[in-house]
Amino acid sequence: MSNRNKDGIVIHTDKKDFEGMRKAGKIAAECLDFITPYVKPGVTTEYLDDLCAQFIKEKGVISACIGYHGYPKYTCISINHEICHGIPSPERKLLDGEILNIDVTVIADGWHGDTSRMYYAGKPSVKAKRLCDVTYECLMRGIEAVKPGAYFGDIGAVIEEIAHHYGYSVVDMFCGHGLGKVFHDEPNVMHCGKKGTGPRIEEGMFFTIEPMINFGKKDATILANEWTAVTKDRSLSAQFEHSLAVTSNGAEIFTLSPKGMDKPPY
């Protein structure tokens, strides 16, 4: 059983909801585990997308991305200065040293599992690796701020603090989101903000945290394909994402890698 609170956020109380999300989250994470060895210089992003699509199909679930508001592919693959929603392409071959984010969302029995990780094609530069490490840190510390009674602003405050500490900026044009039976639902989970602000976090909420951290300025712009967001100054950008539930004493992450491959190098 679930109902919406005064902020319009769904509160899940049924164990079956959690089981549904665990299953969807696990498959999404497995998909990212599966694709890992294929990410190398010379392969096209469409090839990676095809492999993910095949994996998703074999698992008997469907991709939430394809067809979503007209999105043409099964995954989003964003390279280097692309912040998010990069469209896999047969022309775009990975080059040695590039960093990329693969974002997968599957629907299993109606439940959405949404996750993304960074990958290295070949050997990344020190600055690219550091950006990925800091972005992962932002995600995990943001998740640590999740507990009943805390505020959504607490998550953003922690992420912003860590990103700024290392000299990076936080993209404020995109945010995390509630999910469950719906792909994008309330609340908007901002990755910057002030402690003690925003709606209260309650046990039973499902949402994603997916900080996008830029090496340069936070400003983003959308390409002519109307999907892909890139940094305005063309600086590198990184993102990690987990889907999670608020439990009585913290958070349960649905999309942890079964193989422990949550962060590169893998």
Binding site: Y151, V158, G196, G250
Partner: protein, 230 residues
Amino acid sequence: MDYDGELVAGTAKKLIGNLIVDVELNDGKIEPAFCGAVEVADMCKQGMPVLLLREADDTRILKNKLLFLKTSGGWIFADPKYNRALFKEAFVAKKIEELRPYKSCRALKHSEAKGIDFELTGENGEKAFVFVTSIYNKKDGCAAFPQKMNFFEMKMLEEMRHKINKGAKVFIMMIAPREDCDKAKFSWDIDPLAAAAMYDAAQFGINFICYNCKIEENNISLHQKMRIIY
């Protein structure tokens, strides 16, 4: 309550921003540590001994979490996330004198009671409600309260008044996660607005309980009741 891993000793060097502290470890290496409680990070001064909890994942860029800070008086536990667990453990062990008449304890969701943490039920069905919070400040040798309050906590005090009107007892359980104080003091200076709200709440019948903690190598627990000085 046991800690999640082994603690590493060091000395605070510098607070950077609000939540990150540079710490010199005993082997001379300087590493950043994450501190989840802004109030504790604020207290962090150069040269203070600290205890860090190492992340299980060694590839993390922020490998340490600041768990304890040693002030002139003693150790302060820096992770407010464990408040509820500390309270629950102490309630079950019947350590909290004022709450011994109550037999069961249920954690409340925010939507049920606007931020009140627990509902207690006595043998005859009588109800009590508890809000658990940490107090970090120290003044004149006493743990000083109230801490700063935000809008939602103010609303929660209103909810507590409703509960009192309905005949329930209401408690604000303050945990001073430190060993160096055995008294708590009401202070108008930390946040006058919060102090005024708490003063009104006390007049209305909300009860305050304050406990300090026993800090050991492997665990932390509620220790002694602190006398409250108004």
